[in-house]
């Protein structure tokens, strides 16, 4: 037999870190379009209040429910406020909550996952069992409970969701961390005397980073839907603060009485942004899967 195969050096080297732009391009046209939408939404979230043509909180009841016109592109809502301005201003609270949820979940989830994967053994069993048990609490239920205890509000609801979603994130990342842990280059680094912390931070985490990013993106969409629902229920962001979920609730009457635009517009805003996050997240999962070992 010919011995033409070279020594598997590839196994010994950690993966190359690809550029952000490169990864984005790898997600295909759908992924890039979604990224654009997300970028636009983020822009509106940050600058919404500034670019809004009118004061989102100033309402004139005599103008309530009026339809679109030249000066007010989307018309007015139930309280006579300019709908477009309110939509633009509402982006901030609609996206801030999910950001908080994702930040905590990814941070805590990654830490727990890497810790459990690294140490293995008893610690891993304890952490995994603990996570499985907490898993039993549906996120929205925990948020309602939190609202009952601490009063309605975005922060309480976001924290509750973060607590409820962390076990799921940790479980997904733990699998990837375990696979990474078993790679030969990790053993090589250990033998060289590199500290565990350094290996985890400088090697393991960056190598599972594509998966983390994909998970974070999908999670953002999911959290956004749930937080919007909680605000719709009146247990999250409180009216009269602008928020897309709240706006659906505020303008629900319009559906029944023939002026559905305000409620539908707010709903559409949520759907568009969440679709973008879902599509991008799915594409990122594909890229992570393909680029991995």
């Amino acid at each position: 037999m010919s011995i033409t195969a070279a020594l598997p050096v590839g196994d010994l080297a950690p993966a190359k870190r690809s550029s952000v732009l490169g990864t984005l391009r790898a997600t295909g046209p759908a992924g890039m379009a979604s990224a654009v939408v997300i970028g636009a939404a983020t822009f509106v979230a940050v600058f919404g209040v500034v670019i809004a043509p009118y004061d989102p909180n100033l309402g004139n009841l005599t103008q309530a429910w009026l339809g679109p016109s030249a000066s007010h592109l989307l018309g007015f809502d139930a309280q006579g406020r300019d709908l477009l301005s309110r939509l633009l201003a509402g982006a901030w609270t609609s996206m801030l909550g999910p950001l908080l949820v994702v930040g905590i979940c990814i941070g805590a989830g990654t830490a727990l996952a890497v810790l459990a994967a690294w140490r293995g053994g008893a610690l891993d069993t304890v952490v995994s069992s603990g996570l499985n048990v907490v898993f039993a609490f549906p996120g929205i239920l925990l948020a309602i409970l939190a609202a009952a205890i601490f009063g309605a509000g975005l922060i309480a609801a976001s924290l509750a969701l973060a607590i409820a979603y962390t076990p799921y994130v940790a479980r997904v990342l733990r699998g990837a961390a375990l696979r990474e842990r078993g790679q030969q280059y990790v053993a090589a680094l250990e033998v060289q005397g590199v500290s565990a912390l350094r290996i985890c931070i400088r090697h393991i985490v960056p190598n599972i980073a594509p998966l983390i990013v994909a998970q974070a993106t999908i999670l953002f969409g999911y959290a956004m839907v749930t937080l919007a629902a909680i605000s719709f229920l009146g247990l999250g962001v409180q009216p009269p603060a602008p928020n897309w979920g709240v706006m659906v609730s505020e303008n629900q009457q319009g559906i029944l009485q023939g002026t559905p635009l305000p409620a539908l517009a707010a709903g559409a805003a949520i759907v568009v942004v969440v679709v973008a996050f879902n599509v991008l997240g799915e594409r990122l999962f594909e890229v992570a899967r393909r680029g991995g070992r």
Binding site: S128, P138, L233, G245
Partner: protein
């Protein structure tokens, strides 16, 4: 695992009261000022002078006996209040589950087996539907089918069984729509992947006819991940039903939970939370059992891995 989950969940529900700002009495009273006699009643009922864990024990044993305390606002037994509403929620969840399983899995199987226009269409539609929150679906459905085309009523429970079904159709669809999309996508992916597997090639090389190939080798194997995702989605319906109930004015547990949360009627919140979490855990356990039955390679409890 089942028991442990329930214990921890019940502990959280119970202990949450103590996290509330102010002392326990004020929390239980929902921030209202109470006459001294009421305070005494609360102290006795909740054993507030006993150590913490003992209080938990009393509360838990009471709960297991069906005694969930008394609503501060309505002054009735929480159990009674729950019992009168539980069938609404159960019916809604059941209706939505049937829709999800029937259409979600159905669409997924058809588009998984048949690449082409139908498949692409399903992918696009499901990508959008998966992002539609239940309450947005609710208002769109109300707008289209209750207001524009008056096929269905917009709010309320309805009177007899048939009328109930009419009233529950739009809410069930609203509840089901995003989960349906997710189940369809996962089913499609599972069927696709299973079709490419080597054991399907083996069967084909032996001359097994295509229909049987699909039924016994592709679908049967794809049933494993499909069961998992279906179980997860159905379980999640239990919690999300609250949103739909509020949107459609249905008199269910979820709507009542939200109401009580706003009123800070903690006994009710605790009671309903306990019921919902229990249902959630039970459904998950059932899915675990089903999973172990379908896949002979796994033993019970392995789904968690």
């Amino acid at each position: 695992m089942l028991v442990a989950s329930l214990l921890v969940a019940s502990f959280v529900i119970f202990g949450a009261v103590y996290l509330a700002p102010g002392n326990v009495i004020s929390a239980l009273g929902g921030g209202r000022s109470l006459p001294a006699s009421s305070v005494k009643v609360l102290e006795a009922r909740y054993h507030l002078n006993a150590p913490f864990l003992a209080q938990y024990w009393y509360w838990l044993t009471n709960a297991l006996h069906g005694n969930l305390g008394i609503s501060i606002t309505l002054r009735e037994n929480v159990s009674t209040l729950i019992a009168s509403r539980i069938w609404t929620t159960a019916g809604l969840v059941l209706y939505a589950s049937i829709l999800i399983l029937l259409f979600g899995i159905g669409l997924g199987v058809v588009s998984g087996l048949r690449p082409g226009l139908f498949d692409t269409g399903t992918l696009v539609v499901s990508a959008v539907s998966a992002a539609i929150p239940a309450f947005v679906a609710a208002i769109v459905l109300i707008f289209l089918f209750a207001v524009k085309l008056t096929w269905f009523p917009a709010v309320g429970n309805g009177t007899d069984l048939l009328d109930n079904v009419r009233h529950f159709t739009l809410p069930a669809i609203a509840l089901a729509i995003s989960s349906l999309a997710v189940v369809a996508r996962v089913t499609r992916a599972a069927v696709r992947e299973e079709s490419q597997r080597e054991h399907v090639q083996t069967a084909r090389s032996r001359g097994i006819p295509p229909r049987q190939l699909i039924r016994r080798h592709i679908l049967r194997n794809a049933a494993i991940p499909v069961t998992t995702i279906s179980g997860i989605t159905v379980a999640s319906l239990i919690a999300v039903a609250a949103v739909v109930e509020v949107a459609f004015g249905l008199n269910g547990l979820g709507a009542y939970l939200v109401q009580s949360a706003q009123d800070k009627d903690l006994a009710v919140v605790q009671g309903i939370s306990l019921v919902l979490v229990t249902a959630f855990v039970v459904v998950n356990v059932l899915v675990d059992v089903l999973y172990a039955v379908i896949d002979p390679r796994v033993t019970l409890g392995a789904r968690a891995q």
